[in-house]
Amino acid sequence: MDAVGAALTVSLAGLGGWLLLRWVSDTLNPACSTAPGRAPFAAGAPPGVHAWSRFHARYYTMALLFLAFDMEMVFMYPWAVVFVREGVTALVEMLMFIVILTLGILYAWRERALEWA
């Protein structure tokens, strides 16, 4: 609980400091918001539509691949701690697991799942 409390205090202190800085800056330069001043940057011509949209994140196949590896990473943290104690068993077991996953990378690469444009 001590660490959580400290982290919370640090976060609140940081946020407080940042809001104070923003407040000082906004006092020095009072906000002056007009329609042409709010127009999003499009290099001269105002944009026709809102930028917020159902953005096509084309790397979604790569993101799926990442999910598999992210899980593997979670297994590896405790594995690293007990590795020396468990010895060759730990090495071989993790190696088998990783080799299978790595074959997945090669398959994804061959299928051009890592490129999108």
Binding site: D26, P30, A39, A80, V81, V84, L91, A108
Partner: protein, 311 residues
């Protein structure tokens, strides 16, 4: 050490480390840029120019866009700076520990690396403008690619220490630094770290082809805070790298904290120089290199380190 220092002193220390670190990165960046371009200037000017620029930004109005996600936009730089602080706080300055003694330090920094994605994406999404939006989505693709090599090289460093805590990892390097024991580790870590800190040459989120990417709509103090937070994140990357690969506080003559600072500065200089000499690759090219090159290399690093330990 938190207990020894007390919370207010720890807060002040982390805060000043963030600000000072960001200043040092700006000075290094400016100085090395001048050396690379062959356009020298007086040292005094190099030391003061980040201050001049910061004062200019503090005096500029903070503009907004038509329909931004204002709370998200407000918090994004503070979030990134907070993540940098979270990284810096676990760097052990001596055998007695760090400001925050986290037992699973490596998992902690991996989490920082993952949450950076949220901060940068939020910064790109919030203004409701096309260039920042593309920058934010691009960063997600980059982050999904650097995250694995980053975590894997740190895990490899945990093997000889038999622990995830950074002080133990430093102590395990008393005979031989990890940079020698695991020669693949530091280069892979630094490449991933450039992505994590969103720095050139992997500055896909804030790059010139998007006219500044997620920074396009940021003005005044908001722009200053974002740039400073990015620089502070680079300091955190360098400090963790110095701890995990260069033996942290270990070294003759100087006291432990001084060694941490010296090694961090050395890594910072290396990272900043790379930013001035190496051009930004294509994003897809980097993604392929990361998955087909960096991740397998990082795995080789893990298993070779493990094998050497068992022999």
């Amino acid at each position: 050490m938190t207990a020894q220092l007390g919370l207010p002193a720890s807060l002040a220390l982390v805060g000043s480390a963030l600000v000072l670190g960001a200043y040092v990165v700006e000075v290094l960046d400016h100085a090395i840029g001048r050396v690379v371009s062959g356009h020298f200037e007086p040292v005094g000017r190099t030391l003061t120019i980040p201050i001049h620029r910061a004062a200019l930004l503090l005096l500029q109005q903070t503009t907004t866009t038509e329909r931004p996600d204002a709370p998200l936009w407000l918090i994004a730089p503070a979030f990134l700076a907070g993540l940098a602080a979270a990284g810096l706080a676990i760097v052990p300055l001596g055998p007695s520990g760090a400001l925050a003694n986290v037992e699973a330090g490596i998992v902690w920094f991996g989490a920082v690396g993952a949450l950076v994605m949220v901060a940068v994406y939020a910064h790109g999404w919030a203004p409701n403008s096309v260039m920042p939006l593309i920058g934010g989505y691009r960063f997600v693709a980059l982050a999904l690619s650097y995250e694995m090599p980053l975590a894997l090289v740190l895990i490899a460093a945990a093997l000889p220490a038999r622990a995830l805590a950074l002080p133990v990892i430093v102590a395990s390097q008393a005979d031989l630094w990890n940079v020698v024991r695991q020669p693949l580790g530091l280069p892979l870590y630094l490449i991933a770290g450039l992505g994590l800190a969103c720095r050139r040459p992997l500055d896909f989120a804030d790059s010139a082809d998007l006219a500044g990417g997620t920074l396009v709509e940021a003005s005044g103090v908001a722009r200053l805070a974002w740039s400073a937070a990015k620089s502070a994140m680079l300091v955190a990357v360098a400090a963790i790298g110095a701890t995990v690969f260069l033996g942290g506080w270990l070294g003759p003559w100087l006291p432990g904290p001084a060694w941490v600072v010296v090694k961090t500065l050395a890594l910072l200089a290396l990272l900043v120089t790379a930013g001035h000499l190496v051009a930004r690759p294509r994003l897809e090219r980097f993604v392929v290199i990361a998955w087909v090159g960096l991740i397998p290399l990082a795995l080789v690093n893990v298993f070779l380190s493990g094998l050497l330990l068992l022999l």
